[in-house]
Symmetry: C4
Subunit: 478 residues, 4 copies
């Protein structure tokens, strides 16, 4: 394929013909302008790599743009540099970055969230922290844990306490894994690799996301020998693409496939949507506002439009035919679906509402757990923990009993790999302490009679970190 000069590219800078350069290659994205067109037009005819990279998985273009729109490599020295000015706001942010307290002062996972909120770009914070509609489910995820109390036992030998376990048959030093989250480079230039490295050190399993900022192979390559990784899958309408992805993952040694079933469509996340307006030039927005074109859900829709909204129970047979990896459904929210997953030969389910980012008023995983355990016992005679059919819960965790993906995100955003290591260290300390004080030498000794459900005083740390939703503002207030 012949190279193209920067000058030629620069001529295609309009809605009628819009070319962009990403990582030295030229793409014709004219047909792509429906959603999010304005941000793309800003880079029409230019090198968009810097803007593009943190918010797109590396193969987003390949997967979404037909081959004939891949125009070929650009002649390197012919491209005009895009000069990004550093705003006063960005300068202030970088100063805050330099003022981060040392890791020794980070006492709990809330601290990472608090620091991240101050040192992330507004765009990254909005993307990571936002959730669906009124963010009721998002907050309930945490609040639900606060309704569960302990009934500790005394006078047991707790000199040695052990909270290691196995997950899908793989050893883990803690009863937690690192869940999948998209767009890791928004928070730190190394993106998901921070998680890979810290997980190796801590002996914890990492789940690689479909929508990672780093490519799948980069993340697998970064793993230590013997380090266990899982893969989270958004199923593509084009099953050939999905088949290739799954079989490639298996060939690279992935030990479990987590199929996301709670996201046929990306949730509306208003904090994130409002951020997009503020980031743009108000006068232009105002004008285009009156044209009635809704560009508000651009990026999110673009990167997720491949997800198959027609995925059905019947499709699970096909997955069992293309891979031997254990299959887990991620996003189950009631006992009926957990039962059906068991009957369909799944290795487990993640009781999850996608961190409150999809359907608002979905219940917390911890609450769903109770009904799933009861009904699978009653209807299939299962008891838990159960190696044959494992139950996982995510969302809302801030203390040792579990670990929230968002909390891990915040730890690397604020401090990189060392931050994630510290997060695991905190969980380590909390597990040790709590097992001792519970009188439970191992996690198998943590039995149902040690819990008790009732209401609770407010959680200062969580509540103060929570950033209230805001309304649309009069323009003078922008």
């Amino acid at each position: 394929m012949p190279t193209i000069s920067g000058k030629t590219v620069a001529e295609h800078n309009s809605r009628e013909s819009c070319w962009i350069i990403v990582h030295g290659k030229v793409y014709d994205v004219t047909d792509f302008l429906d959603g999010g067109s304005k941000i793309i037009l800003k880079y029409a005819g230019k090198d968009a790599t810097q803007e593009y990279e943190p918010i797109h998985p590396p193969d987003a273009i390949t997967n979404n743009l037909p081959p004939e729109k891949h125009l070929g490599p650009v002649e390197p020295d012919t491209v005009e540099k895009v000069v990004v000015e550093i705003t006063d706001e960005e300068k202030a942010r970088q100063e805050r970055m330099d003022s981060r307290p040392p890791l020794t002062e980070i006492l709990n996972l809330h601290d990472f969230e608090s620091i991240a909120r101050q040192v992330l770009t507004d765009k990254a914070w909005a993307y990571y922290s936002s959730a669906a509609d009124d963010e009721i489910t998002h907050r309930e995820n945490h609040a639900a844990y606060h309704r569960v109390w302990f009934r500790p036992r005394v006078l047991r030998d707790v000199t040695n306490v052990d909270w290691s376990t196995t997950i899908l048959g793989q050893k883990s030093t803690m009863p937690v894994y690192v869940s999948a989250t998209a767009l890791g480079k928004l928070g730190h230039p190394d993106g998901e690799l921070n998680l890979t490295r810290a997980a190796a050190k801590a002996g914890v399993i990492q789940m690689i996301p479909t929508l990672a900022s780093c490519s799948f192979d980069e993340i697998v390559d970064a793993a230590q020998p013997g380090q266990v990784q899982f893969f989270q899958l958004y199923v593509n309408k084009d099953r050939a693409i999905t088949k290739k992805l799954v079989q490639h993952a298996e060939s690279r040694g992935i030990k479990g496939l987590f199929i996301t079933v709670d996201a046929p469509q990306l949730g509306r996340r208003e904090k994130d949507m409002r951020m997009k307006f503020e980031a743009e030039d108000p006068s232009v927005v105002s004008k285009s506002g009156s044209t009635g074109i809704d560009r508000s859900q651009g990026a999110a829709r673009a990167i997720s439009s491949f997800i198959d909204t027609a995925l059905k129970w019947d499709d699970l047979k096909w997955f069992r035919s293309i891979t031997k990896m254990p299959l887990i459904l991620k996003g189950v929210q009631c006992w009926e679906d957990a039962l059906q997953a068991y009957d369909a030969g799944m290795a487990g389910v993640v009781l999850s509402n996608h961190g409150g980012r999809q359907l608002d008023f979905a219940r917390s995983g911890i609450e769903v757990l109770v009904e799933v355990v009861e009904n699978l016992k009653e209807k299939r005679g299962l008891s838990f923990p159960n190696e044959k059919f494992q139950l996982f819960v995510d969302g809302g965790v801030r203390r040792a009993t579990d670990v929230l993906k968002a909390a891990v995100l915040y730890s690397f955003c604020a401090y990189g790999t060392e931050g994630v290591e510290k997060a695991f260290q905190i969980l380590h300390d909390e597990f040790e302490m709590n097992l001792r004080l519970l009188g439970a030498p191992t996690i198998k000794d943590v039995v149902p009679s040690m819990s008790h459900i009732v209401a609770v005083p407010g959680d200062s740390l969580y509540n103060n970190n929570y950033e209230s939703l805001k309304y649309a503002q009069l323009k003078g207030k922008l």
Copy 2:
């Protein structure tokens, strides 16, 4: 009828003889001075149209003033212009009006309320937002929805989702209709016509209020061919008037008659009442205060004094004899009355507490719905949804599951017809999203087992929009 000169009118400017001009006609309102006299006296002998129009239905005078007090047309050029000065406050308000964000930035129905609160006149905001006594019911209407959670299902084909339905046999693109609210011109010069136009575009049914600012025929005339409209009825003590209204409505093609049964007397709404004091000249108020004349409930009483406080179950037979339109009782609040409505041959009931504007501590419609469904099943074998006896709920809705009349009001106050269209668009997007995430391809697939009732974290958007009641103030603080 001969014309009257403006000069003659101007002579009748006292409590003893008080004439006013409205839309070019002269009326003797001397006998009308008991309630709200001060505001009327301000226009005695003058053209009161500008003040009168937004807060009175067009036929208020005709219905309430005996024919002999209709004195005839005024000679147009003889009337002195009433000069309304624009206060600094009003200027500031108009500036805020110019600063409204574009509609693309309006993400939810709360946004309309927040903007409306800033751009409406104080009088309009007080009238629309106020509710009875301590506004407990008003807030409970919303809070009650927040006790209901979802139990979504996964792995169903939700590529095509459909939330259209039929209401009283009429097609509707959404399971909602535009409910009736009074005095639409307070918020926008086109009043209820904004709703008619947007409803047409959205394929939604509009209910025309008895106390509209526009006349019934204006609203019907504004409808598109085939557009469905309902009529909301306050029953007049003079049944001949009611009969005329109902039969006229039927002849104009109205498809359902909603008889309001929860308002034998207008509720005391203290925000609205306090606004009246503030709007008036404090020194005069102070003086008249000591005369002991209570003018605080003037306008509201005046426009509603015709409502029959003696309306009884027996009267429903008479309604069935004068019209073939389906009859619905609006304002039922317990299962006993819903059952009696069914037995009386009604086509349905609206479980409503009048938006919390009548009896404080009445329960929310969503809570009453549960007992109605249970008892009608047990005692009459009915199952729901039921085409023969439909149940509607209003009050407190802000998100897709329903649509609040107030929310719609705020959308046209802030943005006119385009605002209402946007409100429907938001509901459209929310319905689409939620059905997908619920795993329910149509609204019939939304079954009781998908819900679950429990307490919930606070609703930031709603709570911040809610304006606390205030006390009487020392005069220095006015």
Copy 3:
């Protein structure tokens, strides 16, 4: 008895010999100096009337000081005038008094409380508003009403609604009476007479307190012909005094005797106690603090020390032997005691916790009512309302369903007799409205199935009026 010269009195101005003048008579109060001594010493040898009057019932001296300490009349012109300077704070208060809004702007009983808080002296506000310990019961009294919701009925003829009733066989225009509260002159120079006059106009019954600022006979004399009054009794250790009081009340036409049974000792009310410290000279307090003399409960103890802590069920027979008035126990707080009262031939009980001013964590009357009705039905076959054994509830009421003594107090403090009349007018309007909206033509139509108990959104008006308790302060902050 010979007159005493002011000069002679002035010589008795020390702890060793302390005489004071009240209403022209000289008293030797030397033996009285244990409690509250400092405030008394301030007036030693002087005319204490102005300080004494608002905080003592007129016969407090007669009842508490042995006759030999009544030294006789003073020679009028020989007494040195006590000059009370008007502080800046007092001037500001009087300005606020002049800025009260006209009564037409008072929309509810909360308004009276809000205005009273601003125009009362600090001492009066502290005395009226304070309650026991953490004021939990005080606030629960109001909060308990907010757990009760309505189930209104529709399509009943509510043109005429009637909320009159009979109380102990006496007619009352409303289902409420004015309860007894002490020290009315603290708030208004006419004290309890404001209540007598307004009660006459409104057709409501007044209960005269033992510890009124006005004398019993003054209050009875102020009544209109036929106006009904009750009497509230604190029982004296000296039964002869009690017998005289009771029989005098009966001879003056009192129609019911309410014996207070919840106050063997006056509750600790910390707001009131803190006020006493602030009112005194800080340097002196500081010194006397180190002497360890506790003067904090002075006045309250002094006026209530006569109350018999040994009053028992057996004593009720004696009461029945000395009067034919119906006897009611005021302050019953559980069904067991209500049952015993019935068995002892009482005419009724007031389910009351003394406005939350006695035992903190006592329950609200409305909550106790439920268990009393259930148990008296089950154990004695009584149904309610019941003319033979009437149940009353007080405490926490702000809206029409009941009337709080405190709310009435605030109305006359802020506006005198006209204020109380307005308070009754507000209740009148609220009763009329609520009966109509409930679909209940008379109060007998308000049946249990019209209520429903559940939690509720916050009460803005009540909560904002509630003044948080404060801690002891560092001296610099006084």
Copy 4:
């Protein structure tokens, strides 16, 4: 042992060889530098007495440092004085100390806490007030009491009320004892002796803590003839040390041994941990932060590292063999363990979660009490109160029904011995009042039917005293 010159000591001032002087004796603490090393290094080669004393029990060195590291007495005049500068902050604190209100203005135990918070050093406040993790249990301890209401009785003779009782067979003027808390000298130079003296005056029993600032014998010597004392025991891994302690206690007349069973490891208390960072030089912290050495839990770990994490039920037999004192388990948190304690021949249990300072989400003692009473009745036929097996509850108390150790601490921190006396006086007054108003002449008359459990309005005093947890801060904000 020969004396050592100050000059020689001064040479051992590094991490390689670190000697310190405490109370005139030289110790080699080089091997002790792992935890909390920085604070120790600051005093390397110097006299550390002033820093050491308030935060260590007097025998901490003896118990923890092997005898060969006790180097002998220092030559007194050869030691260089350590000059401690008084910071501006400390000056301001001492001014606040001088501004304390007189004790007569202290109305309740909350007041002591409020004053102590203002006059304690930051370090002392952080140590005393901090609790585990999110401090949920800490606050629940208090909140739980607020769910219990009274059902008082009337018309009983309450002239004489009596709340004295016996505890483990010993007379007590109140149904409370002074519980054990560590490090009393942090708050007041006389440390635990304040409690001994005030307890003597009030006729209340004191429990002596293992980790007192004063030595065990000092505290016993300070007791009045006949004054009863208990002993709280942390069990040492070296049972010989424990045996010596226990038998010495018994020989000195101690009447009960409270074995702590809820602290195999000291809880993480983040307020306290954050205080340590702030107290140190930020630049050094920042550097050492990157070395990854965690010194945050230094002192607390050091003083508690001797506690035996392997203590088991079987060990109780051994305790019964070495002492005849009644044995009580302190820190039981469910009925199963209370039952086992009864079966193991214990004299009682303290239902306690260590003031919320150990396992967060442990339940309050008052809540555990209910299940213990029920199950011991059902399974062993016990009724309570029971002289053979006594139940105690601690944590969260602020009013008369019980007395919180922390509240007592705050009273002596702010006012020394007189403060504690006043605290007992307040409890005395509250007991007297409450028994009267409950209609219960003695504490045996306070029966279960006098209570009732339900939710409650907020506790202003408690909530305002509660200091919210804070996050790690950007350095600029230190």
